[in-house]
């Protein structure tokens, strides 16, 4: 009797399985399940574009409709990855154009995307619908024009914090009159002014438009007319909120806001003047997401706004909110899940003279029972505060504390912040992401290694005393997936001793640590399934084994060494003649 599930039945069942994690499990059951799964997977996510070749992905998932790719390591956001390192979108787009021309959605993060890439997308994918570029660079507004003009079924075009060569605002005018399918448009990171009349016409012929994020150049006046054309918006990113409007314009704008019954997310608010904040009162009760991180508005002007946001789940602000403002958040925003507080000082360090301390976060941890994700920039912190936060919020999943002064101890006791972080990892059993800062000894990492069993991503800077720190982490944190470290005083021993661990992780980044060239070579030789990249902009003429490397980036890969490495990236493949005669291996 054949007990095998007919593939048609399996296909039907799989059409209900959306999660890729589940699909990955399905594909491991047996060959026929693998085959059925791969032929039916529509959404593919590759979190390290160098872990696998584009051709392999296209071959395995021929029915792919949506592809998500991530390129550079996270620390590239902070300029720690030199330009030219890699992360090019082109090979992927080229491969998909050839093998998966039915591709409809492309989401890229931290990749280099050129105008050629965008033109290729426009030319190759007939039913292209979604383009989301996050922290990407390399293209100009000309590339956007290519997308606008050719993708007749475009639904989403989102540029999130990209660095774009801005040649002007004409690109927007290339959307044809026949395009009526737009659901989401985000050009908030562009500088140039677009033609308002074209934008208005685009908005008015897009009945499905749900998300519109304007750039700073769109004036407050223009905002009014746009809102009147799209009262159905669910997400709005305003432009500059600072023009001087006359009374009539103000009341019309107020009216427009009050018509927006569906609005859930608000951002932008560049340069918002305090006298315009009341314009937003009518939408506050409906908001679940509020991004004030570019709104340079001080206290107490924010208070009235915050008290009205009783349904807020996500709040991004600057430290201008101060402890007082966070107290108001704690008492008004009971649904809060995610809080991010960014520094307002231009350089962040020593520039802040706002009254925001650890107390602000403590208040929020007390008042908001659903708080699970925190990013908090602060000048200083205390162990006691972290202990309290941990006690209040054992449900934390993401805790990123950035004490901006490197090596800052507990400012009340002058002790290291070891005990504070210990409380966090001990109590918050579901913690998946952690960033540490301040003065930390090896002990802190012993605690993290002991308790951080669910920890997947860990970011460390200016911490620890010795190799023990790294050893605790690599040997203790079972779920560790991404580890990024800068300016910490250790390297080889722990790295080499825990080499096998590296294959269970997506990637490891270490910069300005004490990893020697010899250790890198050894790791490369012993771990063929890893790419060990030494990134040195200023290499020595000859590289003795004991010389420290500037940066090392290690990641597991099925693709082998990559072919697009710039000169300043070294891998062992570049020097095949290096032998092991003087390195003893046990």
């Amino acid at each position: 009797m054949d007990l095998r599930l007919p593939s048609k039945v399996l296909e039907h069942i799989l059409s209900f399985v959306d999660s890729n994690e589940d699909r990955n499990s399905v594909s491991l059951v047996c060959k026929s399940w693998f085959e059925t799964e791969r032929r039916t997977r529509k959404r593919v996510i590759v979190r390290n574009c160098y872990a696998v070749t584009p051709e392999a992905v296209a071959r395995r998932f021929p029915e792919m409709r949506s592809l998500t790719l991530k390129g550079k390591p996270h620390f590239a956001d902070y300029n720690l990855v030199p330009d030219g390192w890699g992360g090019y979108a082109w090979p992927w787009i080229e491969a998909m154009a050839e093998k998966c021309p039915s591709l409809e959605e492309l989401r890229l993060k931290r990749m280099v995307v050129t105008d050629e890439c965008l033109e290729k997308i426009a030319a190759s994918f007939k039913d292209f619908k979604v383009l989301v570029l996050t922290s990407c660079e390399g293209f100009s507004t000309d590339g956007l024009a290519a997308i606008a003009v050719a993708c007749s079924n475009l639904r989403e075009l989102e540029l999130r914090e990209c660095i774009v060569e801005d040649l002007g605002g004409d690109w927007l005018s290339y959307f044809p009159e026949t395009l009526t399918s737009l659901v989401s448009l985000d050009f908030s990171c562009l500088d140039s002014e677009v033609k308002l009349s074209d934008l208005e016409r685009l908005v008015s012929r897009s009945p499905n438009l749900k998300s519109l994020k304007l750039n700073r150049a769109v004036s407050l006046d223009a905002l009014g007319s746009l809102l009147r054309l799209a009262p159905q918006l669910v997400e709005l990113g305003t432009g500059s909120f600072s023009d001087k409007l006359d009374q009539e314009a103000v009341s019309k704008l107020s009216q427009a806001f009050s018509e927006m019954k569906e609005l859930k997310s608000l951002s932008g608010l560049w340069d918002v003047l305090p006298e315009y904040i009341p314009l937003l009162y009518s939408v506050c009760p409906g908001l679940t997401s509020l991004n004030l991180s570019y709104a340079t508005v001080q206290m107490p002007d924010l208070l009235e706004l915050l008290t009205r946001c009783s349904n807020l789940q996500k709040l991004w602000v600057m430290d201008l909110i101060e402890d007082k403002g966070l107290e108001v958040v704690a008492s008004s925003c009971k649904e809060l899940r995610e809080l991010r507080v960014f520094p307002s000082g231009a350089e962040g360090l020593n520039d802040t003279n706002v009254a925001m301390t650890e107390q602000g976060l403590v208040s929020v941890s007390e008042g908001c029972p659903n708080l699970e994700s925190v990013l908090y920039f602060c000048v200083q912190f205390t162990n006691a505060a972290m202990v309290t936060i941990a006690r209040n919020r054992p449900n934390l999943k993401c805790f990123r504390l950035c004490v901006m002064e490197p090596f800052a101890p507990d400012h009340k006791t002058q002790k290291p912040l070891d005990e504070g972080f210990k409380a966090i990892v001990e109590r918050c059993k579901d913690l998946q992401r952690l960033s540490v800062s301040g003065l930390l000894t090896d002990k802190a990492f012993e605690y993290i290694g002991t308790h951080g069993k669910k920890l997947r991503m860990l970011s460390i800077a200016f911490a620890g005393d010795s190799d023990l720190m790294l050893h605790h982490l690599l040997s203790g944190c079972e779920s560790l997936n991404k580890l990024e470290i800068r300016d910490c005083p250790f390297g080889d021993t722990a790295l080499v001793a825990n080499a096998a661990k590296l294959e269970t992780m997506r990637s490891l980044w270490m910069s300005s640590c004490c990893v020697s060239f010899g250790a890198c070579k050894l790791l490369s030789q012993k771990m063929p399934k890893l790419n060990v990249e030494v990134i040195d902009e200023h290499p020595l003429e000859t590289r003795p084994d004991s010389s420290p490397v500037e940066r090392i980036y290690i990641y597991r890969t099925l693709a082998g060494p990559r072919l697009d490495m710039p000169e300043f990236v070294w891998t062992i493949q570049k020097n095949p003649e290096i032998g092991v005669s003087h390195l003893a291996i046990k």
Partner: protein, 266 residues
Amino acid sequence: MSYQLLSVDKEGLATSPGLKERNYMGLSDCSSVDSSTIPNVDKKSSLNFKATELRLGLPESSQSPQRETDYRLLSPRTPDEKLLFPLLPCKDHASGNKRGYLAKSGSNNAPAAKAQVVGWPPIRSYRKNTMASSTSKNTNEVGLGPLFVKVSMDGAPYLRKVDLRTYTCYQHLSSALEKMFSCFTLGQCGLHGAHGRERMSEVKLKDLLHGSEFVLTYEDKDGDWMLVGDVPWEIFTESCRKLKIMKGSDSIGLAPSAVEKSKNKD
């Protein structure tokens, strides 16, 4: 736990209170580790091969692993090497080359020069640039905020931004650009696979610039493209809107007072 102070380039340290240097080369007393501390790096010593013996394999127990490696840093950086990016080695003259976390971004024109650490605090460049242009809009003072201009290069896949305030003269600027764009001229981007550029080994941008294959030009306030270098530095920083490294052949006809605008086409 005792922490040692490095002696650091004083201009780098400037007026940041509370920032302490840490000596990363193991001179601090780590009580949790077996007492074989790393000896002071005081002179060029020969490679101690036994000491570089590395082990591969998981440790037996959770006790502190034997610290058997003995690293001595060799080859201190040449003193006149200009490092305009990430770390500048903090020269401790008594003990060779140690690395501190302090970095310099060229020479800083800002009045109270703060020690700037690259990528710290960890704020995305996009946010930094945006906030910077916010504050410069809000201040009436001229010349205190950063002055970002875009730099593009013929044939390079994308452009960069530089802050003109961090340079004091043309020489600085040109060295920085040289470093920034050298990877493109060396054809190492491998951008488009098969049709990437030929690798030009050993050829530096500087040589190209001096051999007039590439020239540095800028667009001024009036939208005119000029050759860089003919006006005094201060006037240049005030009027420069954009920089472009052009192929020499494209710049024929551009003179210091030329008014022809060159097209920025790929």
